[in-house]
């Protein structure tokens, strides 16, 4: 195999690990299978990482970073706040539908970290980053489309993080797209109802009814 600096090898192995884990699950991702995926030998692995746990630490950091990017890119300002919210949920949802293994992996890694003594902080940091990202997105959106919130931003952020988490897991198990769409409509109404635009009107349609807005 071609020689390459440790840092690049580490990236290569981390990405191979993510591919194997997204495909087969964390439990089946042995160092051997990860090395096979990356096309290197076992000892190259142990040259780059002290242990399998060290690799997993790297994997968790990478996958968290990726998840945050997905959330960030889901938010694109639209004509109305309600449209922005609905389109944001939809963009996130499309990513889940297109990459189920990757989303499943994030849950497995959370469990892994919570169960491994001394690794709990990795799970905590992961979830804190998600909450912080949502908070940040709310604030940024407020600069572009002024509105008031009926709940503190950090409470809404945490609700959004938890709720999308739950919906995602539910969808990974049951996978009923029609019901999922109805729920996305419902929570869009809910979240829009928590906002108040500058002129005092609520920025949402009060009745649950319509199909997803076209984008």
């Amino acid at each position: 195999m071609a020689r390459m600096p440790s840092a690049e090898r580490r990236r290569q192995l981390t990405e191979a690990a993510i591919r194997v884990m997204a495909r087969d699950g964390v439990a089946r991702a042995t160092t051997r299978s990860i090395c096979a995926e990356a096309g290197v030998s076992l000892s190259v692995f142990h040259y780059c990482f002290d242990s399998k746990q060290a690799l997993l630490e790297s994997v968790i950091a990478a996958i968290t970073e990726h998840g945050i990017t997905v959330a960030r890119e889901a938010i694109r300002p639209r004509a109305t706040l309600r449209e922005t919210i609905r389109a944001g949920f939809q963009a996130y949802w499309d990513h889940v539908a297109a990459n189920p293994g990757e989303h499943m992996l994030t849950y497995e890694l959370t469990q892994y970290a919570l169960r491994r003594p001394g690794f709990e902080h990795l799970a905590r940091r992961q979830y804190e980053l998600y909450c912080d990202t949502y908070t940040e997105l709310i604030e940024q959106l407020r600069l572009l489309m002024p509105f008031e919130l009926r709940v503190p931003a950090h409470v809404l952020a945490r609700y959004l993080a938890a709720m999308t988490d739950g919906l995602t897991l539910n969808h990974l198990v049951l996978g009923d797209t029609a019901v999922s769409a109805a729920i996305l409509d419902m929570i869009t109404d809910h979240v829009a109802g928590l906002t108040e635009t500058a002129d005092g009107d609520r920025a949402h349609a009060p009745e649950y009814a319509g199909p997803p807005l076209s984008v």
Copy 2:
């Protein structure tokens, strides 16, 4: 060891497995540790179960049944619909706070089932049962305290299942009780706002404000 019928041994081993898994996680729950917890030898285990997977099937069935019981017992009719909803969330939440390992276990078992080819149906059945239970509870509640829903009952049921799932996982990781309480208040308002009592009024306070209602 005292001799006992297979059926009872199976229950004994299933319960021991749940204790070990809730404490140490699924990955660390080896047949040996489960047998030690149950106080039997390895061969007794293999006399009662064909394989470890057979035990896990039994564990998933038992833990799902338990989860449903928790949800069922959380709903107790109160003076108003809103109070009933809030108290229901609180009762469920108290159970999470008191039994974190058990709730964590349900997530791990879901992952396990989804990842083990041929076991996906166990995860699906688990989540379908949760949704069905919520639907059933909504219908039962409607008999006692008549109200209309702005969304189909099965959509609300699935939302409730997914949302409590997400909140629970979030709480297991971050564990901030104050924010969790604020979120419970918020979703109580949301859900109450989806209902309409017979006289046409909404059965909720429209503003997010107060502390949890006293019970």
